[in-house]
Symmetry: C3
Subunit: 357 residues, 3 copies
Amino acid sequence: MPTKTETFLQNCWYCAGWGTDVGLGSRDLVVRKIAGRSILLYRTPQGALVAMEDRCPHRSAPLSLGRKEGDAVRCMYHGMLFGPDGRCRQVPGMDKIPPGADVPTLAAVEKDGWIWVWLGDPATADPALICEAVGPADPDWVLKTNAIRIETNYRQEIANLADLSHVSWVHGETFGGSDDWSLIRPRHKNLPRGIETRYTVRGVPAPNFAKHLFDPAARFDIDVHVTLTVPCKFIMSFRIKSAGDATSGESNGDLLLDTFTSQAVTPRDDGSIDYYFSWGTSKATWFPGIVELMHATNLDAFLEDKRILEGQRERQLQYPDAPQIDIVHDAGPGRMLWVLDKLLEQEASDHVAETVA
Amino acid sequence: MPTKTETFLQNCWYCAGWGTDVGLGSRDLVVRKIAGRSILLYRTPQGALVAMEDRCPHRSAPLSLGRKEGDAVRCMYHGMLFGPDGRCRQVPGMDKIPPGADVPTLAAVEKDGWIWVWLGDPATADPALICEAVGPADPDWVLKTNAIRIETNYRQEIANLADLSHVSWVHGETFGGSDDWSLIRPRHKNLPRGIETRYTVRGVPAPNFAKHLFDPAARFDIDVHVTLTVPCKFIMSFRIKSAGDATSGESNGDLLLDTFTSQAVTPRDDGSIDYYFSWGTSKATWFPGIVELMHATNLDAFLEDKRILEGQRERQLQYPDAPQIDIVHDAGPGRMLWVLDKLLEQEASDHVAETVA
Amino acid sequence: MPTKTETFLQNCWYCAGWGTDVGLGSRDLVVRKIAGRSILLYRTPQGALVAMEDRCPHRSAPLSLGRKEGDAVRCMYHGMLFGPDGRCRQVPGMDKIPPGADVPTLAAVEKDGWIWVWLGDPATADPALICEAVGPADPDWVLKTNAIRIETNYRQEIANLADLSHVSWVHGETFGGSDDWSLIRPRHKNLPRGIETRYTVRGVPAPNFAKHLFDPAARFDIDVHVTLTVPCKFIMSFRIKSAGDATSGESNGDLLLDTFTSQAVTPRDDGSIDYYFSWGTSKATWFPGIVELMHATNLDAFLEDKRILEGQRERQLQYPDAPQIDIVHDAGPGRMLWVLDKLLEQEASDHVAETVA
């Protein structure tokens, strides 16, 4: 259940949206709430990305209500001007800049169409820890992107993504179409910062959103390969094949549709997440209309998740002391949250060590 | 004044609405908040009523977002199936049901058109404690039903119902029409779980909602008989007669309109109530249009109560430490709240005794 | 930053709106939230102003939901009647008035078109402490009045008004038009209950809202004289002259537009203020349309303040422990808040002395 005041991992990359969300226009001062902080994003005239706390160090006015001036941003309460390094360049009416007049900046990187920010010390930001995704501009793929907000705690969204048995129930109208997803017991492999899961769903009917495209008797195999890493990045290859006769390992059917989805979940605070996602097919298996259908279905499906997750949160807040039992499908969520908690513990003990030293 | 966190009586019947609110349709999973808990109501194919906690024991998803399957309900997060006894029948993907995978059920009874649930141990539920009302299907009466929600603490609604002197002021546009209601000092008789009040208002003009139906000079007597029981059930015979010459006891005028109202107030939580009510006439005194007029007036009047009760609550929360003086009309509210508090104390001491034993 | 629970000055005058807000109509029971209290305002048939707590001493119903009867107000829950002195005159159904059945009243004064209430003991209310303003009925001035609500703490509004350097930035589209406001370092003179500030902005272009009325090359001097007193009354003479050649003291240009603004800010509670203001010209410098333009601009400008102040409050609540640095322009806010805090300390120690004595 959600803790009352969540401690968020600092030394990791949080998704701050799609690169196209932050334009070059004079009003393009984008603010994202990430792990309790409000982060201002903008681009310099050269297109370089700047990420800084959305708070003037003088009287806390949001810099996102400010004005872009070249590569700098001016607070429009008392006119203080800050460079992309967060350094104060000017205090109107003063000759000297007073000490402390700087804004904390964050390491920010664009990769695979996404913007990533590192909450911890920018000097320790490690681009190698950004997840491997497939961006909407990848020449081998046809992908469409989208975003929603869900009023839940991000741990519940992790649990949702680490256990796809819910596809049979939550997504009955969209991705689902049979009980098969809930009968599989996938093995999860621990990674240093997440889990990796591979399995094949065999001999299933077409999912509901695509049932009308196939003979009702047609059966399919689906090879699933998911990598889920902290804080909550869900990267999945989802390959639809004609039903083969292999009973273990990957399906040996014919590859019909090679799809890929990249999903990043950013906790805004204890009770709210932003969810950025793409889905589409390889160019080789694409056919007209299919990605538009997948795009529409994906949003419908995530609104199904939103409904159940927000209902769940309501009950968890209403019954804070009620026990929750575990079932077999909690292996994935349990592992993933264990990895997250281990990293959180490590950060806490590193912090104590630093404070003592 | 409302306590910050109310303790609600457990061993009593709370009204969960009208029986007609819970249908046989596939989507008829009704949820009611009662004394801080969310209760799912549905019917089996045979029409039997089921009441259970609206929370899956696995990850707290609301069962009311689930699916009816025969006499069972399936949680549509991970597919767990629960029978009408709350027992888990199936966990998809598991051969055995894990311990604890049950949902608490509540005793539920339909009587006089209302649904009643018992919050305490179902084994102790005593149908004899359900109040005596007149239901909308009673062949001797013509009644119409309705419901509203008021953002107040239920103790304030008890006080409202235990003292009808407010009719002169709050209901000036509807039930009222003179100061007479506020001049009467009724005697209240204590019952084991409430109070009973009988009196006659004599020689009053027609109430405002019916003034146009009578000669302005006409005067009436009204015999009132109220039974008010915990948590908050208000059953009233309200007989309108031509003004007689008796000065004590029941009016000896001619019975013009024999009306009956059944009202049940359910605390949702500390600051919100659901109010279910009916009003109408005996078949013998009915005439065309009268019950429709009473029905419309009743809702108008309860919206008058809502306005004053919600204003009162705002001030009580704003001035939590301000003293409140008592007046003569607080005899009824005082008695009724004394009965309620005595029962609450008894439950608290029984609970201590059980815990120690 | 706003304290969690603000202590408000009691022995001072708070503005409760414009006199025209409280009419003689039967429904003119006006309620204002002031420093956490809800105050009922109404007029007797002779037009005299009455101010009392908007709470019946019986069961806390708002008297503002009541009924005017002559010079009295009747609570429309149980009919208690209160005179303009707060004394209970009648409890329907009772022969005697129970002790404590009175409503606290407040000293209320109308001056310069405004209504003022004194939160402390009415016996100590000192009309000499009401600020000197110019009312909309003053025969020498042409003024229009208005009001807005801002969700901020009143200390932030004090800081806003005690430092007009923000005009260059916040009001770029309205009052501003150049950086000059942010380059001036005015001297502030302490008053017993506030500060007084005089300075001249020299050789500036027309403000943006009036740019189209003048030759673009025209330059102006502006003589500013502000008196700011607790809790937050901002009275300003703002005289626009043709640019003169004096380099200190008042401008020696020709007086073009002699304007005057009276502004009163009332804290409703910790996080909300009501703002009542007027602006206009002397009759001598008035010309057709100018006051209408100033009136519209004034509201636009205060909505600019609202946007920045509400953004600031959001960040201050989000980052309660973040340090705020000071700049040169904080001299005015610092002095004014120092005066306020000194008076608050004095009230606290007077209160201790009274309690001990």
